[in-house]
């Protein structure tokens, strides 16, 4: 297991993202925040795997990953992804994307991801997102939170219907 962050108070962030422009934006956002520092960044899956498993000694506090890269990781090797969770139990994953399908974010939530932002989000909101997620909160697009509330109430309606059909 990697060592927890012991170097001062600055939060260690790893950025895994294919899109170079987004990487640069993220770097810029974090550079202006004295409480955050970038531990490493990679643009492809093998590089990301090497970075997290071999190249850094210190466990990151936050991993910001692009949705495309994350989908590749799940599609090709979900076992490695899950084992990373075990070696870095304290690290929180935040996902960034240009767009999303509801079901993709539903899946992320199921896997315990509590941070999601759309690319183009202002830097100050990205660092706020990181802090909120680190403190155990949720940071998602407002419209997506509304979708989850709808899902929960629909689920209740469906359950009610099933109960009335089955006579429970």
């Amino acid at each position: 297991m990697q060592q927890p962050n012991v170097s001062g108070n600055a939060l260690g962030v790893v950025i895994l993202e294919k899109d170079g422009r987004f990487l640069a934006d993220m770097r810029e956002a974090l550079k202006n925040d004295a409480e955050m520092r970038v531990l490493g960044e990679r643009t492809d899956l093998p590089g990301a795997r090497a970075l997290l498993t071999e190249e850094i000694d210190e466990a990151p506090d936050i991993i910001v990953a692009g949705l495309d890269l994350l989908k590749e990781a799940v599609a090709s090797d979900v076992a490695t992804l899950m084992s990373l969770k075990e070696t870095m139990p304290g690290a929180k994953l935040i996902v960034a994307s240009e767009r999303y399908a509801d079901e993709e974010v539903f899946r992320m939530i199921q896997e315990g991801i509590r941070g999601f932002f759309l690319k183009g989000t202002p830097p100050e909101l990205i660092t706020r997102c990181i802090r909120v997620v680190l403190s155990g909160g949720i940071w998602m697009d407002n419209s997506f939170i509304a979708r989850i509330f709808e899902e929960v109430s629909h689920r209740n309606e469906e359950a009610g219907m099933r109960d009335s059909v089955s006579g429970n």
Binding site: K71, A75, V78, R99, E104, R107, F149, E151, V152
Partner: protein, 244 residues
């Protein structure tokens, strides 16, 4: 400048606490985009309003006590509320925050909640605007709780996340060229209407294609199908070109 009738958020207040209602009226009077259409102070007059309403109401601000009474005693009024005002959103105003009770209300479709003494005038206005726009206004702890419940429910329904096997990715060979084209767009997180626009077809046709794709691949949803597509592309980058 005056807001047009359509831009104005039309609200109704159901609350018997006259002191609170008076201050709420003053608060809302300051917002030119919000109009109080009616105020009812007890359960019977609130029920009469719901049963007889014919005009557009965007939002109902209801005290927790009145709502609790309606839920406990009168299912017919709740059914009528959904029939007569299907687009209307409900915000509950409570005296205190009891997570379990509020969570049950969320399950009933409540989109907003605040504790009367804990919210400033500015935030009441903000809450009305946010909920009227289709978003939610809730305590952060409750949002966490809703996410946990949703996550638990979704995990039960969908099972564990896993990488597709070779046998599963081989099923991509069953898809037509058009279906592969569509699946590629699904894997890029495009929604049905966006796919329809890109391929110059109707949303209905997109849905039919997607149903057929799911059936051929044995996928239950877009995520399963996307993982198959990406998994195959990673194993054989040329898969899309080779097969068709």
């Amino acid at each position: 400048m005056e807001n047009s009738a359509r831009d104005t958020i039309r609200i109704v207040i159901f609350d018997g606490d006259t002191t609170f209602v008076d201050s709420l009226k003053k608060t809302i009077a300051a917002a030119t985009d919000i109009r109080i259409v009616d105020v009812r102070g007890d359960i019977d007059s609130a029920k009469a309003f719901i049963l007889g309403v014919r005009e557009r109401i965007d939002l109902i601000l209801v005290s927790f006590n009145i709502l609790k009474e309606v839920v406990a005693s009168d299912m017919e009024t709740l059914v009528k509320l959904k029939e007569n005002l299907p687009e209307t959103r409900v915000v509950v105003m409570g005296e205190r925050y009891v997570e379990e009770e509020i969570f049950r209300m969320v399950e009933q479709g409540i989109k907003g909640f605040f504790v009367k003494g804990d919210i400033s005038s500015d935030f009441i206005i903000k809450c009305v605007r946010v909920v009227a726009q289709g978003q939610v206004w809730m305590d952060a702890n409750l949002v966490n709780r809703v996410f946990e419940e949703f996550s638990h429910y979704y995990a039960q329904a969908e099972g564990k996340l896993r990488s597709p096997s070779h046998e599963e990715t081989d099923r991509l060979a069953l898809l037509t060229k058009r279906e592969m084209e569509l699946l590629e767009l699904v894997s890029m997180s495009l929604k049905n209407d966006e796919i329809a626009e890109r391929l110059f077809i109707s949303t209905k046709t997109v849905k039919t294609h997607i149903r057929n794709i799911f059936e051929k691949l044995g996928s239950r949803n877009r995520v399963d199908a996307t993982l198959l597509y990406i998994g195959a592309s990673k194993r054989r980058p040329q898969v899309a070109q080779l097969e068709h």
